[in-house]
């Protein structure tokens, strides 16, 4: 059941990042607007909740995905805005693909469960 949670987080954070990137594109011509982005990091769970790994082949429980909003510090245009529309569109496409990957994996997961239940 753990992968459901991971996929849910993936979809949640890519959705959030999509919102941030949309704001950047909308404000591509707004003076003094600074571009924002979300950094994904994998936070380690509490040591106690971690599965014991006694052999190198053991799989560790995957940690939670965490998102951290950061403001881009790159050089700005004359009006104090540092949005680069091409970069934002590229990021957005990449992010949307990640989102769709999450959705597809979730679809597969649900189908697997349904197959298992039928037999």
């Amino acid at each position: 059941m753990d992968s459901f949670k991971t996929l849910e987080q993936l979809i949640h954070f890519t959705g959030m990042r999509h919102g941030v990137l949309t704001s950047n594109i909308a404000n591509a011509d707004t003076p003094n607007y600074r571009a924002k982005d979300i950094n994904f990091t994998q936070a380690l769970d509490d040591e106690e909740l971690e599965l014991k790994t006694t052999a190198p082949g053991h799989i560790k429980k995957s940690g939670d995905i965490q998102g951290e909003i950061k403001t881009e510090t790159s050089a700005s245009w004359e009006d104090g805005n540092n949005v680069e529309v091409d970069m934002e569109v590229a990021k957005m496409t990449e992010n949307a693909m990640l989102f769709q990957t999450g959705i597809s994996l979730l679809e597969t997961k649900i189908r697997m469960f349904k197959t298992a239940l039928r037999r």
């Binding site: 979809i11 949640h12 959705g15 959030m16 999509h18 919102g19 941030v20 990137l21 949309t22 704001s23 594109i25 909308a26 404000n27 591509a28 011509d29 707004t30 003076p31 607007y33 924002k36 979300i38 909003i69 529309v85 934002e88 569109v89 957005m92 496409t93 949307a96 989102f99 769709q100 959705i103 979730l106 679809e107 649900i110 189908r111 349904k114």
Partner: protein, 137 residues
Amino acid sequence: MDTFGVFKVSASALEAQKKRMNVIASNMANANSTRTEEGGPYKRKDVVFSSVLMEQSPVELEGVQVVDIAADDTPGKTVYDPGHPDADKDGFVSLPNVNILEEMTNMMMALRAYEASVSAFNISKTMFMKTLELTRQ
């Protein structure tokens, strides 16, 4: 995930760029207007954009709005044309400070920004549709 916030953000950008396009169109249309209601030649206008907070959680979504349409006060060209009805006593006519090339460039920029927001809107739509398709599983 915010439900429809991203759509509002994209829509605000589309609206703002459209307003900008309208202002550019008036500038270009009035490139030769030497007479206005407030007197003197036409002054080119510029839109002033400002970001506006549309949704607070889970992330701050910032849309854009046109807060002001400001007139550009730089003086335009004056040409010697004594026969012109708006010529002053020395025979000089003040022309609007509209530069067609500048307006064209601005128009291209507005168009590109508009297109980028349309793309963003479409991507948002695809993402939502994909999520909805999960319910059919």
